[in-house]
Amino acid sequence: MMRSLVLLFLLSAIVACRPVKTIEQIQIKGSDSEVAVVMALAESFMHHEHRISVSVKGGGSGSGIAALLNGKTDIANSSRDMSDKEHEMAKARSIRPVPVVFAEDVLVFILHPSLKIKALTLDQIAGIYRGEIQNWKEVGGPDRMISLYGRQSNSGTYVYLREKVLKAEYSPKVKGMNGTAQIVEAVKQDVGGIGYVSLGYVQHNNKPTAGISVVSLGLGEGVSPLDRAAVTGGLYPLKRPLYHFLNGPARGALASFLRFERSEKGQAIIRESGYIPVEGPLAIAPGADVVPKAQPVHGK
């Protein structure tokens, strides 16, 4: 009995140690706005490159950057730039964050369809999220209390909206959801609901998501974020770059993944996911060493 157990153990040890094809791992973590599109990119990439395995996790831009600073991820996805504090911490830990912009996004506001509100101005949005406007009738809707949905403070989108639109703190009544998908689900069910999400969550393959209405921004009719030309041309405000942060210049597997994102196939996936591909080549040096250069940052 004992002997056969030992034998079995040895056998399994041998099987476990059998040399398999060496697979290179890429860990990606961070922004919830980016997780779906990067996952789609990674899947297609792994289809082409069997030797490389890519894992993509969400959790928020703040979590991604924290993971990069703690050496727990190869790429930090972030929908915001790194803060001065984070740069200081990177320096202290001798990590050299290199930003790569791989696509662009716009911030989109979604409502429950029964509110029948087509357009809001940025000032109205700011008033709503600061808690100064509390009833939909104040902005041309029905007499109904506004129910605010947002993200936690580890979200890049949370930070971006506060900085660019609110220019003040959020109302304490904002319900902090744990991910963008949860905001969409909550707004679908809440007759007074408003939420902010990334472009990829309101359309897929050029079809708008059902069950929510998307707010146009501006006076009168406003500009819809679903209007591709307006978004690409910058007519719709709140355009923002989507970053990867790497530790130092990309090499090997990382470099080929970045190269794939810039390829025609990669750009098509970015477009299908609802985002705007970034033009122009990555500054790729010949050979394995790749030095990605930051793209000009819009609206910084």
């Binding site: 703040g62 979590s63 129910s147 703190e169 109302s171 304490p172 009544k173 904002v174 319900k175 809440d190």
Partner: protein
Amino acid sequence: MGNKDLTPANLFENQKRHFFNRLFKFLVKTAAFLSVVVLVGIFALLAWNGLQMFREVSVFQFFFTSTWNPSALNAPSFGIGSMLAGTMLVTVAAMFIAFPVGIALAAYLSEVASPRMRGVVRPIIELLAGIPSVVVGFIGIVVIGPFLAKTFALSNGFTALNGAILLAIMALPSIVTVAEDALRAVPRAYREASYALGSNKWTTLVRVTLPAAGSGIVAAGVLGVGRAVGETMTVLMATGNALEVPDSLFDAVRTMTATMAIEMGEVPFGTTHYFSLFAIGATLFIISLLFNLTAEYLAAKFRHQA
């Protein structure tokens, strides 16, 4: 016999037995000691890290103001007032539901149910304790939230009440088991004396058995509170996590546990924000320790009486 004891083989047997006796005593002692070390260690860690926050934040601001915004645009603020209020509201409401139901269930099990019925119901209640909190939270989002929204004409179900109902379900097993044990420990003679005086089952239960089991019943409630205060995942998923001081059970609240769980993942090591999360943890630890000690004390008192 006496001769046999002195053979070398038997002497060896004796020594062996003695050795194993001591070994196991030592192992068991170590295990007991270890749990104390772990408890003290956890508290020391929480307190050591938590206290460092007070170099930058006043004690008054931490406990008695209600704005929590460690990553503010301008000056960060670290007031746990709204979270304390949220935790208290959800816990107290949960007890209002779980305590009466739990005591009624315990009374049913110990006084009314047939042994066969008891054999079925009690394991089911104990199984309730085994449902993972994530699953309970999920039920809160999918079932109880929409139900509450419809019933009370709210626009959504992310409310303190939702969390309270879920916590009541989770606290029920500990309340029922402790309360039932307390009721069963009441001597038969008490009940028989009451019946002999002509009282029926209900009067006997309310006037004699429940009062006799009093401290055990209270201990059950206190233990339930301890269970509810520390629960994280369920409330995080179901209560909406808004950082306002709640006006009613229909407001979204964020509890202390939810704050720690949400912010621990993003906080840079060694900052005031990092230490403040430990301070919340230490506060929570002290609260639930107080509740558990009270329950222990009451249960011991009741055991003494019985």
